[in-house]
């Protein structure tokens, strides 16, 4: 009977643990959304921040976050595609390849502060980009590359080798087989990984403090010439992102309504992550149906 009672006790404990976790996590989400959502108005999302008085918004920070995200993805997507294709299709099984894999693994496990400091040293000081969107985007690329590359490689590796053989049998070169047959079929997996990577980039702050800077100068949203200093598109202007903004107003403590602003900004960040997650799932499925023609039953 002892073991049966133990079994009962263990089951109850496991239920309790699962319940506690759901409680903690749900209250976490609820707290952010309930605290933050009342502050999220159109005014809050579009006005610039104010440092010493209440009532500022997060307009510039929000734009910076998105612009930085786009730039970072523009740089890192092609690089990770190339690297992933090489690893999955061309790399031979030898010490060099395993060295490359180790390097990627190490890069993906580095603390983001260390990556940020490296970016500070290289892009900000050595290359003289200063605290700028460009430095930020390059650091985010370094930060994101290993994960994206691994995702591309895994997506490509999951495609059956018969597809490759078929392509080669048709007289295509290996490169053509990869770009015309394998990559399209692996596209759903690749897209999902890219969107999830974008979500991670969107919330990153530690790597950006000393690369994209901690100030958000006023922008002139009527001038879209990238070389004009106050233009939103100028890649060489300092750009505080949303995540950095939350950190900064909380650790400086000079903004009178810092708690309200960070609650609102946190809610926006969470919703953005939610949107990235859901759209990753939706895009993956949608693309899969489109690429393979397996969807639309009965149509």
């Amino acid at each position: 009977m002892k073991v049966k009672r133990q079994d009962k006790v263990a089951t109850v404990i496991l239920y309790l643990i699962a319940g506690t976790i759901i409680l903690v996590l749900a209250s976490l989400l609820a707290f952010i959304l309930i605290q933050g959502l009342p502050h999220v108005t159109w005014h809050f999302l579009t006005t610039p921040a104010r440092s010493f008085e209440a009532g500022g918004g997060i307009g510039i920070q929000l734009f910076n976050s998105f612009y930085l995200l786009v730039l970072a993805m523009v740089i890192s997507v092609p690089l990770s595609l190339g690297a992933g294709i090489y690893l999955s299709e061309y790399a031979k099984k030898n010490w060099l390849t395993s060295l490359i894999r180790t390097a990627i693994e190490i890069l993906s496990s580095l603390p983001s502060v260390v990556v940020g400091l490296f970016g500070f040293l290289i892009f900000v000081i050595q290359f003289k980009f200063g605290f700028s969107i460009l430095s930020g985007a390059l650091v985010l690329t370094v930060f994101n590359l290993p994960l994206l590359t691994r995702n591309v490689e895994e997506s490509l590796a999951s495609i059956s080798s018969m597809q490759r053989e078929a392509g080669l049998a048709l007289g295509l070169s290996r490169w053509e087989t990869v770009t015309r047959i394998i990559v399209p079929e692996a596209l759903p997996g690749i897209t999902t990984g890219m969107i999830l990577g974008a979500g991670r980039v969107f919330g990153e702050a530690a790597a950006l403090i000393y690369t994209a800077g901690q100030s958000a100068p006023a922008l002139d949203f009527t001038n879209w010439n990238p070389f004009y200093i106050a233009s939103p598109l100028n890649p060489l202007r300092p750009a505080e992102t949303l995540a950095v903004h939350i950190w900064k107003i909380n650790s400086e403590g000079i903004m009178p309504d810092a708690v309200a602003v960070s609650a609102g900004a946190s809610a926006v960040l969470i919703i953005a992550v939610l949107v990235f997650n859901l759209s990753a799932r939706w895009f993956g499925q949608h693309l899969y149906q489109k690429m393979t023609g397996s969807g639309k039953k009965g149509a």
């Binding site: 079994d7 263990a10 239920y15 643990i17 699962a18 976790i21 759901i22 903690v24 976490l28 989400l29 707290f31 092609p78 690089l79 190339g82 690297a83 294709i85 090489y86 690893l87 061309y90 790399a91 490359i100 390097a103 990627i104 693994e105 190490i106 890069l107 496990s109 580095l110 603390p111 983001s112 502060v113 260390v114 400091l117 490296f118 040293l121 370094v142 590359l145 590359t149 070169s173 290996r174 490169w175 053509e176 990869v178 979500g199 919330g203 990153e204 702050a205 530690a206 403090i209 950095v244 939350i246 950190w247 909380n250 650790s251 960070s262 946190s266 960040l269 969470i270 992550v273 997650n277």
Partner: protein
């Protein structure tokens, strides 16, 4: 020249494409390797300058408790003792892992063994979502909820190791949970069936068969969570108090390597001792992340040897 002969002697369009594509891939991959090498080179060259250029004793750096790089002690040696930060980093990491492990593994068992359907419907989406929540948001919640509660319960300022532990615990919980689920799922079904057929209860099966055969995977999950906790900067920095002192208790302000690093690097001049000392902290972080990496590899290799 004869067009047939020409087409035979010249490289075909395909062959050129092939070579170009291969080179493109090789270029991308070598870029990543170069970046990794550059990170190590630059952080090491800055971090080691404290010891070579400023002639600080490595042992003193690691074991002394006073951290005031600007001032000198009675022997004229700058006070750069990193022990408080090292202790702080290890304490929050170990405590967070100690608290998170039972919860994460319990939840993973619940999701795979006890109630897979409900677990998958509720727990899995929630943990997946929480993996993606930015760390500043965790820091903000720690600052507005955890710190006041600790202040109310234990007095003091509320900032300290305990607050840091709690924030990191919530932060690494989703990651460790989802990795543990993968580890438990990898246990073949017939192990469980064999155990149950021998008359073992469900708990006996879980405890004696499932947990033991997935031990390497579970350990990997925990070490992974610890690596994340050790390298986390902003969330911890917001709640730990940032006083470079050895913590007397769990609720007195302390600091971690990452918190001092994020606070200090913008306020020091490149090449000065203050700055170099901070880079040495970054170097410690880098080496620790290597150690965690190595640990994960060792566990993986040990686990793979089993039949």
């Amino acid at each position: 020249m004869d067009p047939i002969r020409e087409s035979l002697l010249k490289k075909s369009h395909q062959a050129k494409l092939e070579r170009r594509g291969r080179l493109l891939g090789l270029f991308c991959i070598s870029l990543i390797v170069v970046v990794v090498a550059a990170i190590f080179y630059f952080v090491a060259s800055r971090g080691l300058a404290t010891f070579y250029h400023d002639k600080i004793n490595l042992w003193d750096f690691l074991t002394k408790q006073a951290w005031n790089p600007g001032t000198k002690d009675s022997h004229g040696i700058p006070e750069v003792g990193a022990l408080p930060m090292i202790v702080g980093s290890f304490l929050v990491t170990i405590f967070a892992a100690l608290v998170a492990t039972p919860f994460a593994i319990g939840a993973a068992i619940f999701m795979t063994e006890i109630s897979p359907r409900r677990g998958m419907q509720i727990l899995k989406p929630v943990t997946e979502l929480l993996v993606g929540i930015p760390s500043v948001v965790y820091g903000f919640i720690g600052l507005t909820v955890v710190v006041p509660v600790i202040r109310y319960l234990f007095g003091g300022t509320g900032f300290g190791i305990l607050a840091g532990t709690f924030v990191l615990f919530v932060m690494i919980l989703p990651t460790v949970t989802s990795m543990s689920v993968d580890a438990l799922r990898a246990v073949p079904r017939h192990y469980r069936e064999a155990s149950l057929a021998l008359g073992a209860t469900r708990w006996q099966t879980i405890y004696k068969v499932v947990l033991r055969s997935s031990l390497p995977g579970l350990l990997t999950a925990i070490v992974f969570g610890m690596a994340r906790a050790f390298g986390e900067a902003l969330a911890v920095q917001m709640v730990i108090g940032n006083a470079a002192l050895l913590p007397h208790n769990l609720v007195s302000p302390a600091s971690t390597l990452t918190s001092i690093l994020t606070m200090g690097i913008g306020n020091t001049i490149m090449g000065s001792l203050e700055n170099n000392a901070l880079w040495s902290l970054a170097l410690i972080l880098l080496l620790m992340s290597l150690v965690f990496n190595l640990l994960i590899r060792l566990i993986g290799r040990k686990g793979a040897l089993k039949p």
